[in-house]
């Protein structure tokens, strides 16, 4: 086996390397999950309590006090929860991915591997929390005696879409976070802000129809709409908003990866 190191070489073999190091990706994701569920007694419970309490608050405020309409015949709480699921995944994935390189700086400065592995592993950890919360959704559907329709089989597709949306934005913020260490103070604000401009506590149907397509430029709008359609099975499939959001999400992913890789070369020197 012959290995050559020269300027620009890593760049050219990047995707091959990423595939070669897939086992490390698994191990890093496994490490984060193991640590998370070990460190706190309420490790798994946390993935249940947080979305559940958010659901209760949103249902009371938007459903009962503001009296916003739900979608079709679905109970308001169920509609809210179908939105909270992808939103929680997205917000934790973005927040954790943004700090992932900094918190793994000891690895980055001591061993070579495609750095993209670190944020990807972090987003995968969010996926595990997502599965735990998904169990709660199933319980809620049983509680409300609300059987799913065939669309629920399409849900994995939109989980992948949520994954890409989180990864793209997460990568971009990670890049900024490495360069400007004070950027991390802005991240919680951005995530909070995102919650208000995404249809989590309410149905996106209340947005006037002429603004709907513009609204879908927020990639989470399409994801949440799709989740609701799959889980609640009401109305027609929201293809236009899904389409626009998908395009936006993929552009973010492309942009995020590009920025990340541009930065990656100097990561070891900066961190």
């Amino acid at each position: 086996m012959i290995e050559i190191i020269e300027a620009g070489r890593i760049e050219r073999h990047y995707w091959q390397d990423l595939w070669r190091y897939r086992e490390l990706l698994q191990v890093l994701a496994w490490r984060d999950i193991a640590v998370r569920y070990k460190q706190t007694v309420i490790g798994a419970a946390w993935a249940l309590i947080r979305p559940f309490l958010t659901m209760v608050v949103f249902t009371v405020i938007f459903g009962h006090l503001a009296k916003l309409p739900t979608e079709g015949a679905a109970p308001y709480a169920l509609m809210v929860f179908a939105g909270i699921l992808p939103w929680t995944f997205f917000s934790t994935a973005v927040a954790e991915a943004s700090n992932s390189l900094i918190s793994n700086s000891n690895l980055v400065s001591k061993v070579y591997f495609p750095r993209l592995i670190i944020p990807i592993a972090t987003v995968m950890v969010g996926l595990v929390d997502f599965l735990v919360s998904f169990a709660l959704l199933l319980a809620l559907m049983v509680w409300y005696a609300y059987p799913p329709m065939w669309q629920i089989l399409l849900l994995p597709v939109f989980v992948v879409m949520a994954f890409f949306a989180s990864l793209g934005i997460g990568l971009w913020i990670t890049t900024l976070n490495v360069k400007y260490r004070d950027f991390r103070y802005i991240i919680p604000f951005l995530v909070q802000f995102g919650l208000y401009i995404s249809p989590v506590g309410f149905s996106s149907a209340i947005v006037p129809s002429k603004w709907r397509l513009l609204y879908s430029l927020n990639p989470m709008v399409g994801v949440i709409d799709a989740f609701r359609w799959c889980i609640l099975g009401t109305g027609a499939a929201p293809w236009p908003s899904i389409g626009i959001s998908l395009i936006v999400a993929l552009s973010f992913l492309w942009f995020g990866i590009r920025q990340f890789r541009k930065m990656e070369k100097s990561f070891a020197d900066v961190i």
Binding site: M1, E3, I5, A7, V111, L176, A268
Partner: protein
Amino acid sequence: MSDTVIRVENLSKKYLVGHQSAERERYTALRDVIGREARNFLRKAVDVVRGREIVQGDQVEEFWALKDVNFEVKRGEVLGIIGRNGAGKSTLLKILSKITEPTAGRVTLYGRVATLLEVGTGFHPELTGRENIYLNGAVLGMKRADIKKRFDKIVAFAEVEKFLDTPVKRFSSGMYVRLAFAVAAHLDPEILIVDEVLAVGDAEFQKKCIGKLSEVATSGRTVLFVSHNMTAVRTLCSQVAMIDRGRMPVMGEPSVIIGRYSESYAKSTPREHAWDCPDQRPGNDRIRLRRIELQNESSSADEFAMSDDITIEVEYYNLVESTRLAVNFALYSVDGSEVLEDWSIHEETWAKKLMPCGMFSTKCRIPANLLNVGTYSLRVIFFDAEAVRPLYEYDQRIIFSVYDNEERDVLWHGKYIGHVHPKLYWLTQSLGEGERAR
């Protein structure tokens, strides 16, 4: 196929270093700053969004950490790499381990490479010993199946059988280091690159490490060993390369190169450590050095007789109001081994008080008849004694030597072993005739 396993050709690495020229202006007017910043702001904002590199300061200087380095390593060789701090050793290692890319030139490696820049990279304190073996193995590039196969050997080498299911945060530091080294030692690469890992752990463990490394070498594999520990380099290496300021290394027999290294170390040290010009004073925004001086009884010196008191004096500005400041001195011998360390918390006037801003002098006296003959280097660090946090470390070492002026009425004139040679109390008495030994 030739017997060369590592070939380095014209390897160069450039870094950009930024300078803030504004700091050198006598004073800055607010309107200048606002004007300049407003102009810069737009440009920087665009840079931020596009994630472009912003080098601090408005003058950027190039710095070649390595320049046109060429060398080859043959199969089965143990090459020691020595050089002062900042000579380019770490940059070379980082390039060889692919952590950073070279600016120009090329390295060709014939075989599987494992680099060990640190023991226990990626260890997580919350995970158990068993889990960390898998984690660390994966980080170092081992496949899961490989780790499984070597698991028992790793555990046996580390001697941690009983603690496999204990989180490593409860390990003693010795156990921790043993486990970490054990994983790395069982990587089984064709080329092993090792950095300073022997600096940790107890003597017993170090012996084991050296044993393992030479075992790796005798089995036909190649080892690159970077160290400050000349004793280890001498025992372990068949060839030594000395890097100086990023230039082409001098290679040769260990004893020859190490001798040259010690010489160049002693020669090139500045005798004066005083900075009259304020903007040349080393330091940061907490501490600024004014003078460091070594004195014997009468004058400034860098050579001392064993029977001299050695006084180390530092003059410095404390720039942070109410700091509980402690000056820390550590002595090393030229082969890199630690001799002693102390800090000024025992001092009588200021040690327990908060220091205001201002100029201070701290003196420390190493009593006569303590250090053995030899060349020593002094490291100076300023600590916040309250938080036990370093405030500033002077990046140069101060070199001085101690010579023997003891009058001996025996024929032996050699050097005593060890770094210290205090005058011990001896007493021999006659106990009378007694019983004669037969």
